[in-house]
Structure formats: structure tokens, C-alpha cells
């Protein structure tokens, strides 16, 4: 059957059912979704990520014996295709929807309280982002002149050989922290070299044996203290690196390294 005749038949059937006619875009989207539902590995053309993730989540929530015709799938399909604004009455929420509603409610509570959002399920994150967008559009949230000044200075910090800024209160700056982390690493490495020269190779090896691996200095190229969760912002990651380095530096210089030395002197 040619494509044109197939489309004609489809439109006639839709008309007979009292449905509005489908345009080419809707037909293509329906075919892609149908292919996905049938398990096709390669679907030509983009499939709306939101719709597929909604469907996948509903299928997962249905358990092992989920049948494509079960209630979860029906609900997901209704979410995708139906108007989500029922004019009268509200359909009851199933467990999945209730969990997502709870997660969104908690996220909005934290957002309004000005607390860093906790780990939010991926499917709720976009809704939370939209809620935040609505909120900030409704309220004037000006930037303080001091904060602006700092950001401008920081923007220039990487462009001109300006003096390094002291860390700002609260969230310190990404580049400043990187520089500080690098400097701390250099101090640790430099200190270790000096100690090595002063105490001799035997002493150095002995000290390292008493130093836990997680406190030893790492190369500045190795800036990752572990896998970062995807939800972490760049600033949070830099915070983590900074604190990781600072803690190592402090423990090496103020605790971890001195203890074994005193112990050896006693011996």
C-alpha cells in the first residue's frame, strides 16, 4: 500500500471515530512510539525523551509481570496523549504518581526554604526546575551590589594578571579554589621534597608507610576524589576537591605525619 493511500485510510478511520485529523508530524511521532513499544532497537527520527521516560517508568513500576495493556501502561499512554487538564474531577493517583508528587512537594519546600535540593528523582527534577522558574519570575530577586562586584572581578581574574581575590563568604569561587587547591598540592609536594632532602630517603619511605593512602598527595592532574554524582554542580565539585585537598594538607602537616615521627623518636 502506498504511503498516500495508507494516510488516506488512517484519516478516514480517525474521522469515523470522531477524532481530529492527524498531521504528518503526529503520524510520524505515533509510528516512532509504536516502534519503541514493540522493542525496536533503532527508531528513525527523534523520540520525545519525556514521553519515553514516562512510559519506561510506568512500565518499570508495573513489576515483572507487566503487560503492555495493564493499568500502568494505560496511565502512561494517557499522560502522553491525553489532555492533562481534566475539566471536572481528578482521577485517583497511583503509588508512582503519589511518590513523584511527594518528591516534588519536598523539593519545593526545600527550594522555598533556600536549602540545597536533596537528591531528587530524575523525572521530578525538570518539574522542580519549572517550579523554580515560576517562583523567581513572580518575585523580584535582585543581585546584591557586592556579589555583582565579586563576579565581575572574578570574570576579569582569568583575563588579566590581577591579584587573587580572597574567597567570598558562602560559596567561594571556582577558579580561586582551583588555584588554591593547586597551591596546596604544590606546598604538600614541596614539603615532602624538603623533608625527603632533610631526613634522607630512608626516613621518607618510613613516613609514607604511616600515611594512609587517602591522605597522600595526588598529582594536580588527578583532581577527581571519586565519581561525581550527575546532580552535583560545578561549584559543588570544586568544593569537594578543595575540601579533600585541604583536609589532606592539614592532616599531613598537623597530624598524620607528626605522630609517626614522635613514635619513632620514642623508639
Amino acid at each position: 500500500m502506498s504511503e498516500d493511500r495508507k494516510d488516506d485510510k488512517l484519516q478516514q478511520e480517525l474521522e469515523r471515530l470522531g477524532e481530529p485529523a492527524a498531521d504528518a508530524e503526529e503520524i510520524a511521532a505515533a509510528e516512532r512510539l509504536a516502534a519503541r513499544l514493540e522493542g525496536a532497537l533503532h527508531v528513525v527520527g527523534p523520540v520525545d525523551d519525556d514521553d519515553v521516560s514516562t512510559l519506561a517508568m510506568a512500565l518499570r513500576s508495573g513489576g515483572r509481570d507487566t503487560d503492555p495493556g495493564d493499568a500502568a501502561t494505560d496511565r502512561a499512554l494517557a499522560e502522553i496523549f491525553a489532555d492533562s487538564d481534566p475539566s471536572e474531577g481528578e482521577p485517583p493517583a497511583d503509588d508512582l504518581e503519589q511518590r513523584r508528587a511527594d518528591a516534588l512537594a519536598a523539593g519545593v519546600d526545600r527550594m522555598i526554604a533556600g536549602v540545597q535540593p536533596a537528591d531528587t528523582p530524575a523525572d521530578v527534577q525538570e518539574l522542580l526546575c519549572l517550579a523554580a522558574m515560576i517562583r523567581v519570575s513572580a518575585h523580584a530577586m535582585p543581585m546584591s551590589p557586592g556579589r555583582l562586584e565579586t563576579l565581575v572581578d572574578q570574570a576579569y581574574g582569568t583575563k588579566a594578571p590581577a591579584a587573587a581575590e580572597p574567597p567570598a563568604q558562602g560559596r567561594t569561587f571556582t577558579l580561586g579554589r582551583l588555584a588554591l587547591a593547586a597551591a596546596l598540592s604544590a606546598v604538600v609536594v614541596g614539603g615532602a621534597l624538603v623533608m625527603g632532602g632533610y631526613l634522607g630517603p630512608k626516613r621518607m619511605v618510613s613516613t609514607e608507610q604511616h600515611l594512609p593512602t587517602h591522605l597522600t598527595s595526588r598529582s594536580t592532574r588527578d583532581i577527581l576524589p571519586g565519581a561525581f554524582p550527575r546532580t552535583q554542580t560545578a561549584a559543588e565539585r570544586i568544593d569537594l576537591i578543595y575540601h579533600d585537598r585541604l583536609r589532606s594538607f592539614r592532616e599531613v602537616h598537623l597530624g598524620g605525619q607528626r605522630q609517626p615521627r614522635r613514635a619513632r623518636r620514642k623508639r
Binding site: 503519589q98 516534588l104 513572580a138 535582585p142 563576579l151 572574578q154 576579569y156 571556582t174
Partner: protein
Amino acid sequence: MSGPVPDDAAGLAEERTLIEQAQAGDHDVLKPILKRYGPVLFSGVILPRLGNEADAEDVLRDTMMAAIDRINTFRWKGRSIYYWMRQIAMNKIIDVHRKRQRGARLVTALAAEAAVDPPHADQADEALIAAEERKINRGRIARTLEAMNPRYAEAIRLRLVEELPRRDCAARMGVTLGTFDVLFFRSVKSFRKKFLEE
């Protein structure tokens, strides 16, 4: 910006002079421009499209860095450099949403918005620009709320505009707390659908 607000012609002339000096190599002269438009970009463009203050500050700083870095590529077209910086900011906002793996529809909607100039893109007065951006943001939220089921629009107004606690929202709507949570969840989903369709 400190000092009196210049009228459009004088403001544009001053901007053009500063930009030419920056393009000649003196990047420091851009500081007054960044300080003039930074707050507008933050509260009028970036924050309403990200929702997160920390991310918005990062994007503003990156926008200013990009503006300093690429000032030589800026071509004067008789209107404020603000609109060029706004375009940079919009692209960075889209990058943040992509990195956070937000829905494709949201990214597409932002990209479509970034592709067109805001109305009245001929101002040089930051106060007028800020008013215009506020109008744009509030207008698109209001239009979306108007197109929604009144019950859902009410849930959003109570929770996000009036910032009432959930219990108060539930009481105002005459439902239990759990039902309000579900209503609110459906409201934001409905908002997303209408907002991205706009």
C-alpha cells in the same frame, strides 16, 4: 551603574566608545558595562530560566568572561551590547539544562526563544531593559496559567507565587495535604505542557 541614567543616545554613544577601547586591547573599560547590565541579565534573563541562584551566578560570571574574551567579535549594529550579552547568556542557560539532562522539550523551547530578539530590543537604559525583561517573564507565566485548568493554576499561584505552606494551600483549596501534593504535581506537569507549547 553608578551616577545618573543616561538617555538612550548618550548611553549608546558611551557604550560604543568603551567597546572600541576594549577592542583596542583595554578590556578593563568593559567593567562599567558589565556592572550596568549584570543585574538585569541575572534577575531578568538567567535566573527566571534556571530557577537556581547558584547556577544563575555561575552563568552570569561565564557570560561576562565570554563577553570579555570575545569582545573583538562584537560588531556594533547601533544598539546596546546588552542584547549580544543576552544571547551569550541564553546559550549558556541552554548548556546548563543540557548538562543537567533536562527534557528535550525544555531545551528546544529555550533554543527557540534564544533564536529571536526580545521585543523592543533597542533600549540602552538598563532600568527600561529590566522592566521589559520582567514583563516578558511575567507575561509568559501568566499566559500559561490562564491557559490551564483554573484549579491547577490556583495550586501553582498559592504554592509558588504566594509561597504558602502546603498545609495552607490544601486548606485554601479544601482538600487534604496528600491530595494537594498530587494536585500540585499535576499542576506543574500541566504547566510544563502548556508552557512548552507556547
